[in-house]
């Protein structure tokens, strides 16, 4: 049998760290990268006698997510203890939500090569992150002698665990889901989305069944995938492995596995037999979380326009392609930049889209920065560049040079910390740069005619060839004229004048 005879079923659980200043149950900082255990307060270290108090902002973020995915926000939800022993879990239990989560239902639209589809969400619940076990460290004698180190700085960081239904049928769909979810949580600003730092981590539940089979296959859970590439690779490997096992006559055993990026393989962490018995029960230290309609209303009023709505608007109001609309809503920052540049250029949305998906995308890629970086020309500057093309002051080629000059100027100022204070408007600055770099198009037809006459006089052979029917000769003449004008002639004007002269 080939892979085409099999159906793949994938569900994804995502842990998104919520963007808060302090932890979910304590007043310790959540900032990343501090010295070990310097951001682990008495509650995070689980000293005897300490107690948790819930962070309001973490709850607000959960509500925001619930509204963004069209889910139900529970008027009353309950925190439960998930009991297990692990050195990075200081209390011996994780405070999570079990029977009554804060968010239920909802869905997310994903787009793949096959088109778009809705992935249903089961639930999203609040919980605390664990600390970290460190196995290797420079200069540590202890760690080299069979010890692991425990850093509890991350312990207690608020998490939203988002659980999908098993609605995905390929690694491609799984990645599209993860990307759409990532875009959404960063869009609504509840998660910084930094996957290297572990702010957004996915577990994938993968099973396979023969096409037409109604019963789900036994699933294996791939834990802690912290890049889209690993998610893709791990699922692809797992699918092949499971199909091979079954075709070789082996049954799949429910298990938790880890993906090894070096080998590209998954390996077993624990089987169902030694699965934990978590002994969930309502946390007696925390009372039921009550969310009233008033609060939900306030969060709703504060919600930005969501990417799906924005994509629709870009296409219907401003005539953008679906591709442009999707790329421009990859992040809220990009969308805001686009809208600002389009508005400031007095409606040149298509041109703004082309610039963002062209020159700016190239700049971001080359410099590995995001669109808000001070190296990137502002929307106002881009709008002015577009306006100067529109009014014929500069050519497209000149505009690219001008854009490059703007980038160079910004980098120079950043490097020298010498941003000059100026009261000049962006328009003045850009017009000065156009003059200084001599980018202004030659719009004086008298001067241009003189150049054309000179070129025609010096290129009699080309003129002869054109008249004998060789169109290529026309382009050669245009090239000569542009060169003679030092690139400042308006190409359209050159075309028109040359054709008129040659046909006279």
């Amino acid at each position: 049998m080939s892979r085409a005879d099999w159906e793949v079923v994938i569900g994804i659980e995502t842990h998104a760290q919520l963007k808060t200043a302090s932890k979910i149950f304590s007043g310790a900082s959540t900032a990343f990268g501090a010295e070990p255990n310097t951001q682990a307060c008495a509650v995070d270290v689980a000293l005897p006698g300490v107690l948790p108090v819930l962070n309001k902002e973490a709850v607000a973020h959960a509500i925001r997510f619930g509204l963004a995915v069209g889910a139900e926000v529970a008027p009353r939800s309950v925190f439960a203890r998930k009991n297990y022993f692990y050195p990075d879990l200081p209390k011996g239990y994780q405070i999570s939500q079990f029977e009554l989560p804060v968010v239920s239902g909802g869905g997310l639209t994903i787009v793949t090569s096959a088109g778009s589809k809705n992935v249903r969400l089961t639930r999203a619940h609040l919980e605390e992150d664990a600390g970290k076990s460190i196995h290797e460290l420079d200069n540590s004698l202890a760690l080299s002698h069979g010890r692991s180190g425990i850093d509890l700085n991350r312990a207690g960081t608020p998490l939203l665990e988002i659980v999908s239904e098993p609605d995905m049928r390929s690694a491609e769909e799984a990645v599209a889901y993860a990307k759409a979810l990532h875009a959404l949580v960063t869009w609504i600003d509840i998660c910084d989305g930094n996957m290297q730092e572990g702010s957004f981590r996915c577990d994938a539940n993968v099973s396979v069944r023969r096409k037409g089979e109604s019963k789900l296959g036994t699933r294996r859970e791939i834990k802690n995938l912290n890049s889209f590439r690993f998610l893709q690779q791990a699922i692809e490997y797992e699918i092949d492995w499971q199909i091979e096992q079954i075709e070789d006559g082996h049954a799949i055993v429910q298990a938790t596995v880890l993906f090894d990026p070096d080998s590209g393989e998954t390996r077993m962490m624990r089987s169902k037999e030694d699965a934990h018995d978590y002994r969930y029960f309502p946390d007696p230290d925390l009372l039921p979380l009550v969310i009233d309609a008033d609060w939900i209303g306030k969060v709703k009023a504060d919600m930005p326009e969501l990417p799906a709505a924005m994509q629709q608007r870009f296409q219907s109001d401003w005539g953008l392609s679906e591709y442009d609309a999707v790329t421009l809503t990859a992040s809220l920052d990009t969308a805001r930049y686009f809208i600002d540049a389009g508005n400031l250029s007095k409606g040149e949305y298509k041109a703004a889209a082309n610039w963002i998906n062209g020159e700016i995308a190239a700049l971001l890629n080359k410099r590995q920065i995001n669109i808000n970086d001070p190296e990137v020309p502002s929307p106002e500057e881009l709008a002015m560049v577009i306006s100067r093309i529109k009014d014929g002051t500069i050519s497209n080629a000149g505009a690219k040079k001008l854009f490059q000059a703007l980038c160079d100027k910004r980098r120079l100022e950043l490097e020298s910390f010498a941003k000059q204070l100026t009261t000049a408007s962006v328009q003045q600055i850009i017009d000065d740069m156009i003059s200084a770099s001599d980018l202004r198009q030659m719009n004086d037809s008298g001067a241009l005619e003189a150049i054309i006459d000179e070129v025609l006089a010096n290129n009699a052979k080309s003129v002869e060839e054109f008249r004998s029917g060789k169109d290529k000769a026309f382009n050669a003449l245009v090239g000569q004229i542009m060169k003679a004008s030092k690139g400042k002639a308006n190409p359209q004007q050159v075309n028109d004048l040359l054709r008129a002269k040659l046909s006279s």
């Binding site: 007043g27 008495a42 309950v78 050195p87 460190i134 692991s148 180190g149 850093d151």
Partner: protein
Amino acid sequence: MSLSLDDVAKIARLARLELTDAEAAQTLGQLNNIFGLIEQMQAVNTDGVEPMSHAVDVAQRLREDRVTETNQREAFQSVAPEAEGGLYLVPRVIE
């Protein structure tokens, strides 16, 4: 119902308590006596009764999202059985 030695071994494992065979046997007898007492609950009909997790019927109070804690690593690790370089140390964790 009554517990078996296997049950005792299983819950001791879950609770991370080492028990000798003699302790397990003694514990089994005591737990069965205690559960004899606890089983009295089963005689009462509790259909439709809402479970009571808290002594008071109040909603969770919420804390403003502010950093209020400072670094106390030195004080906390002064009572740790084993710590080095700011880390708590344990036997190597294998995943």
